[in-house]
Symmetry: C2
Subunit: 288 residues, 2 copies
Amino acid sequence: MTPPARVAVAQLPLQVGRAAGNREAAAAAVAEAAAAGARLVVLPELVNSGYVFSGPDEARALAEPPDGPTVSQWERLARAHDLVIVGGFCERTADGVRNSQALVDPGGLRAVYRKAHLWHDEQDVFTPGGGRPPVVETAIGRVGMMVCYDLEFPEWVRAAALAGADVLAVSTNWPSSPVPAGERPVLVAHAQVAAAANRMFVAVADRCAAERGVGWVCGTSIIGPDGYPLAGPLLQDRAAVLVADCDLSEARDKAIGPRNDVHRDRRADLYDGRRDVTNTEKKGRHTS
Amino acid sequence: MTPPARVAVAQLPLQVGRAAGNREAAAAAVAEAAAAGARLVVLPELVNSGYVFSGPDEARALAEPPDGPTVSQWERLARAHDLVIVGGFCERTADGVRNSQALVDPGGLRAVYRKAHLWHDEQDVFTPGGGRPPVVETAIGRVGMMVCYDLEFPEWVRAAALAGADVLAVSTNWPSSPVPAGERPVLVAHAQVAAAANRMFVAVADRCAAERGVGWVCGTSIIGPDGYPLAGPLLQDRAAVLVADCDLSEARDKAIGPRNDVHRDRRADLYDGRRDVTNTEKKGRHTS
C-alpha cells in the first residue's frame, strides 16, 4: 500500500437508454480523475443503462455481459490511466438481468458484484445477488464493493469492513426524497456512519439529471474513517468529479481513542442471539 | 398504544460524586417533562454518580443497587407523574460495578440493562453486560434500552429493533471530540442512522457541564423514524428538557417507499456468512 492515494468519485448525468452517451460521460470523468492524479475512480450505479426503466424489457435490452462494451471500456481506461475503476452496470447473465458493479484495474476485470438489496421497481427488473460484497486487493489497498440500497443495511457494510475493506466504493443512484430545512439528506448520514462504525473510507458516486420524473440526492462524497466528509457531499444537480487524498493505511487501524477499537470491541458472542440472557430473572423484570 | 406520545429527553449538568444533587437535577427534569405532558422521559448515563471517576474505588463507593435511592426515586416519580423513566445509574451488583440503565413505570422497576460495550477507562471500573438490550412493553409502546457507546454497534441497535423497539432510549455521556467546521457531531449521525435503518424513534439524553476536564457533545435529541431530528440535537452546554410528539405506531410499519421494508428487505440468509458464494468462479476474479 502506498499512502495516500487520491480517490475520485464521479457524479454523472446519465440518461436511460443512451448507452453510448453514458459511456462517453463515464470515460470523460475517468480521464478528468486521472488528470487530477486519482488512483481509484468510483462511478455511479447502472452507468450503461440509466435507471428509470419503462419495465423489464427495456432493462433487458440495455443489459450487457462483463465483456460487453461498458466494462471492456473501463478495462482499457484502467490500463491507459493506471488506476482502479469501480462502476455500476446493467448486466445480462444466464439467469436474468442484474444490477451489478465491476471493479477493474490495469490487469483487467477483478470482480463483479450483484446488488443484493433491491429498491422499488428494481424488483421487477433484476435478479438479486446471492453473494457477499467482494473486497479486492488492489495496488492502492483493499476496495470493498456495494450498490445503493445495500448501504442501508449495516450488516452488509459490516461484512465488507470485516472482510478488510480500506475503502468502500458505493455506486449509487439515490432517488431524492423530502429533506427538512437545514438537514443533510439522511442517505449521506448512512455513508458517514458506515465509515465511522468501521474506521474505513467510504466513496460514494451518485448521479444527477432527473430521469423520467425521478430526481436525485446528488450526494456524491468521500467520507473519512472518522465519519466526516473529505469531499462533498456535492448536493448539486450537475456533473462533477470530486477528489480527496486518502491515506488508506488509516483504515487498517480500527482504534478509536487510546483504549477502544471499533472491531475488537464488538461483542460478537452476544450478537448471534444464542447467548441471550435477557429476562434471566423471570420475575416480570428484565435484567441483562 | 395511544399515539402520539410526548417523549422527553433531559440533558443534565451532572457532577461526579454529588449523588444527592444529581438526583435532584434528575427529579426536577422529570417534573418539568411531566408538566410538559411527557409520557416517557429519558435521562443520561450514570445519573447518580457522574462519569469521570478517579478510579474503580470511587465508582464502587458511588454505586447502588436497583433498590437504592436513585432508582427508588424514579419509581416514585414515575408513579406520581404517570410516566415511564429510563435513566442510567452506577449499579452495584454481586459481581462488581455496572454501567446500568433502569426502566421504571408506574408499576415500578421493569428492566435493568447493563452496558455491553465499555468506553475507555470504564474498562477499569465496570463489569460489562452479558445480555441483549431489553425491549419493554409500556403503556405508550415498546421501549428499547441502550447506553452510550452501545449505539455505535449496528448489531446492537438492530437487535433492539428486531426485538420490536418502537423507541430506543439511549442514556449517554458523549465525550466531546473535534468536529470539523459546519459538521454535526458524528455521534448524532449514529442516532439518526439507528433510527432510519430501523424505522424507529431514537431518544438520546446526553449530559452537559465539563467534569474533571472532560467536555460533552451535549447531543440530546429525539430522532424520528425517517432519521431526521424531531427535537435537538441541542449542542449547547446547558441543562435542558426537550420534547417531541412521537406517534410510536409509525415504528410498527417498517415500510420505506411503496415496495420496500427496512426489516423484511434484510437478506438474513446472507448475513451469517454460511452462504457466502463470493469467489465462486475461482479464476482470480470475484463474482457474487
